[in-house]
Assembly symmetry: C2
Homo-oligomer: 702 residues x 2
Amino acid sequence: MNKDLFTLMHPNSVAIIGASAKPGSVGNELILRATEARFTGRLVAINPKNDEINGVPCYPNIASVPFKVDTAIIAVPAAGVLQVLEECHASGCNHAVIISSGFKEVGDAGRALEQQIADFANMNDMTVVGPNCLGIINTATEYSLNACFAPLQPMRGSVGFATQSGALASGIINVLPNLRIGLSQMISLGNQCQINSIDVLRCWENDDSIKVILLYLESIPNEKEFREVASRISLKKPILVIKSGRSERGARASVSHTGSLAGDDTTVSGMLASSGVIRELDLRELFDTAQVLSKCPLPKGENLAIITNAGGPGIMATDTASDYSITIANLTDDTKQKLRSVLSPQASVANPVDVVASATAEQYSASAKILLDAPEVDMLLVIYLYITGKNDIRIMKELEELKKSHPTKPIVAMLLTTPNFNNELDAELPNCSIPTFSYIADAMHGLSRLIERKHFIEDKQSERVYNLNIDSSKTKAILDSAKRDGIKQLTTLQSLQIFANYNLPTPKFGNAQSLNDAKKIAKEIGYPVVLKMSSKTVTHKSDIGGVVTNIKTEEELAEHWNRLMDRLREANVIDTLDGIVVMQQIRGANRELVAGIVEKNGTHQMMFGLGGIFVEALHEVAFRPCPLTYLDAVSLLNSTKAKNIIGALRGNLAADPQEIILTLLRLSQLVSDFPEIKEIDANPLMINDKGELFVVDARIVL
Amino acid sequence: MNKDLFTLMHPNSVAIIGASAKPGSVGNELILRATEARFTGRLVAINPKNDEINGVPCYPNIASVPFKVDTAIIAVPAAGVLQVLEECHASGCNHAVIISSGFKEVGDAGRALEQQIADFANMNDMTVVGPNCLGIINTATEYSLNACFAPLQPMRGSVGFATQSGALASGIINVLPNLRIGLSQMISLGNQCQINSIDVLRCWENDDSIKVILLYLESIPNEKEFREVASRISLKKPILVIKSGRSERGARASVSHTGSLAGDDTTVSGMLASSGVIRELDLRELFDTAQVLSKCPLPKGENLAIITNAGGPGIMATDTASDYSITIANLTDDTKQKLRSVLSPQASVANPVDVVASATAEQYSASAKILLDAPEVDMLLVIYLYITGKNDIRIMKELEELKKSHPTKPIVAMLLTTPNFNNELDAELPNCSIPTFSYIADAMHGLSRLIERKHFIEDKQSERVYNLNIDSSKTKAILDSAKRDGIKQLTTLQSLQIFANYNLPTPKFGNAQSLNDAKKIAKEIGYPVVLKMSSKTVTHKSDIGGVVTNIKTEEELAEHWNRLMDRLREANVIDTLDGIVVMQQIRGANRELVAGIVEKNGTHQMMFGLGGIFVEALHEVAFRPCPLTYLDAVSLLNSTKAKNIIGALRGNLAADPQEIILTLLRLSQLVSDFPEIKEIDANPLMINDKGELFVVDARIVL
């Protein structure tokens, strides 16, 4: 199968099959949109009943069209779609968008019909979007293609938008002009019988007309493939995703076990983060980010200057910058001096720069120039409230000019002005490339994503590749032996030995078959020690008293060993033991983390976060799909409040974040080397008062 | 002093002093706004140079006006303001709004001038708004007063808005029509030389034209008074506040000590919460909430039904409802059956009800009526995307009708339709009382505040008053003795005794002067026990080894007692002791909370949250001003993730929240009874595995 979405989106000729003269019908709306958009190629309607529809020449069927049709837009009843597709193929048209509904979404009969269509398309190297979709749009002046029955025309721009909800596309096309976001291409994916969001990403990867990709998704076609493709493309252009259906998360993430915590949505979040995709939760934030990322360069640094003509919004902007951890630039005396020379005496030349209510457009422009020229400023937010003397459009024109001479410094504007501002701006400065917002929070959200992307690109460019230097032969032997024994959950001893083989920070330990062994090991390790039963069948050691902690002397060891043996005999589990683990007792370990891996839908998911009793109470855990890159490990470490307990804390020394990162990478390596491992718990992962890291208990499930 | 803001806002006659014929001047803008608004009373301009200005009769001074002026709007240069005020008073006009700037905001000379004005006003029972403000607006049809130089006229409505940022008022008046929020009154507070936000609250308390009060504040004039007034008024109508200058919080709240954690902003948040004030962080959320609270009744229950013509937004609405903990109603079979009878076969009658893209206005209306009639539905969100056939205005008209027959069920709408929708709605349904939003998150934010307010009103109506039954005479004796000794920080023993006197959950303890005492006490209490030095001067017991834990037997007690005495002798602190506390060792206490009180600006602030090593790392603490009401204690308990560790957790039993609430109330009572106490730490406040609560250490500072 040879899908060619690019040609489908860039046709020289388009046929609307099922076009209709009946006002209000989908077949008529499609004709209207296409003619309103002034498609630059050849447009024909297909309908046996008409000679022309709204001025578009009409043919009875695609075979009668006197030239080759590149893309067919099919809007006939579901039952007729397959035949139309066959006719298309026969006439040499191998690209189709199926608008018609009545397929998978209406039940089994529709599902079967849809499968026939997909099979036909795949077997005949056809490229098919839909069915049950709204259509496609390509605003490029060379095409000006609107083959979509949404009622309004979108603004031309550099955003590619693909959506699993067609109706949403229509709603969004309606509001985009108000948001001053222009579309390059739009694809309504519908039921995705063939072309899905991954194909769209691939198609837009090298399409320079698209600077930012927006996706509305209700499902991810194939998480592994999506990750692979998105990871590559997100390095070239930002991918913004709304993935709806988040709210099962709450219900699923209610218990502490690694497996149970990996609710579908948390792992989707981890996958998207790992792919460099920006996940937004609602449309507003999506549009905020789209405006800034499609119009602004990545800044060189992170210092924001703010100009305002009102004190209140300046204070609110400072508050919100702090919420988003955006740095307010410290202006140098030189910059302040320059500002003073252009502003009125009442102005404040600290940052935010308050040019006061009476400021002219010239004063706005002069201070914006001074700030953009200043080396200590990397980004500029211009706040304008219409108070006296309406300067909004003039200020926007000045900023647009300044942008040309300061191409590396992002400029965004926030205006509370007349309700008609957007229309005026469109009329007077139609290609304005400065993002505009009505609210500070929206501007800051957009800027924070810009900074996030700057970090992402820089981090990726300098990402380290770690050679973990692991000889896994010991692990292979242990796993082979476990498999021979038919063990699903490895014994404590086996799990610890594997951890040790992978250089994970286990406490010192040894395997004792007798009290004498235990004494010898304890002497080597040093007291206090812990005794842990290691059984091939018992998975909950504590339930039968199989763990004894804080054994301080050889006498205590002897006493506890004997008592432990009594308990194990009583519980009838002596035969199941492969030994008793004698382990170093970790002291001063009052900070508990958790790390673990669980397999979900064929992908190993790494979990990391706050551990101990707080796992379930505070729910500060996050996920990333394996194999982890170095950056995945870093971002996993920073995803939750777990990062807050790693530093020096009340007399406890800081742990080395690198040690934690390596621990996560080693665990990831372990499941890469042995994918038959289904689940790992390194829980708790303790930090002691000296800042040393220890995996105190290990569990591996095949 | 007898302030009368009500008359100032409801004048029969207004003089604009400093009115000007010069276009663009403040004095001219004021005249223009007043005439555009068609003030229904008598309007005069005061300026010696003119006979009339823009058709308004002009007099040389207020004394020449042939009738009594109720309210003077003063816009003369700062230096002339005092004289004008004197003239006003002399002519019987005792209400003035001083627009002029050049006062406190420009330095010491201006500050002195402002003080003179305030003194004159206060001595002569004048009511003065400003100086350095934008003016006032009262849109009531009986007045139609716009004495404000913001460029646009606001929409008429039921919101009262007072602001410390005049420029912000102007910006907000510009955008309110777009947000479909109407103003009843607006007061620009300026420098608040006399009238401040508390006066405004009092003025609007019984003004039925104002349904919702919006405040933008940069400072709280008097926290105690604000709390008292706001607590009373918030029971009658919602008060929404933006208090800017939040971001110092981050810097101040960096260490764990109760005092240090009480950064100004966290305590402001606590005070506002305790007053029933809704604090919003940005303008968008402020407006979301204002729209819903000014247009919707409080719901009877919390079950939300959603109608949508597009699946995607329905899913997103469900996600967002879950984010806000809003319940999606479970529709009964009866309701579903009724929905089926009016909707097309493709529609989904589960909640969200998907009426599908082809839905007519009649189908919207019919399904809205079915849902509003349904007893299982308390609130309705109607989502409309313009896809085919533009029905937005018709749907709004139907909803407006349905609202009349369902007056107790809130209805909100979210529309993604043509950019011109607001104008069309204004033209066709000018008094539309259904809140409208473009984004789901905004609609849900507003609804969540409506539910929050429902809870607040219900909780207040059923609030319990607790008699704590404390005979504080023992505490009085201890404090008297400490004062006689000149002790600032009470000894451990004294602190514990006071806690015990207030029925706080201390472990069992006694005071030992000798080993024999200690043995006797330990026997009574039962082993294991803890020894704690109690000193009049040493505040950090642990630093000199003054605490010994986990003493299991009488022999161990003797051994540890002697060693402790050696250490105390060596540290040369024996003379400072008032005894050694022998205390029950609490076992299985692995959940740590923190409670404490600190005095800030004359108010005792109660802190509560997650304790132990996590206080500073996770920063899950919140504040409420004392004295705490029962509801304050409940809301403090629920303000942080501390609530998550109180329930049953991994084999640990749940603590009784009532015990924690009583602990907070008792601590509050303690500082009410003895306001000389400056600081209290009940830290840690432990919960053991049986769910019992213990204050393990106590510290009281005078």
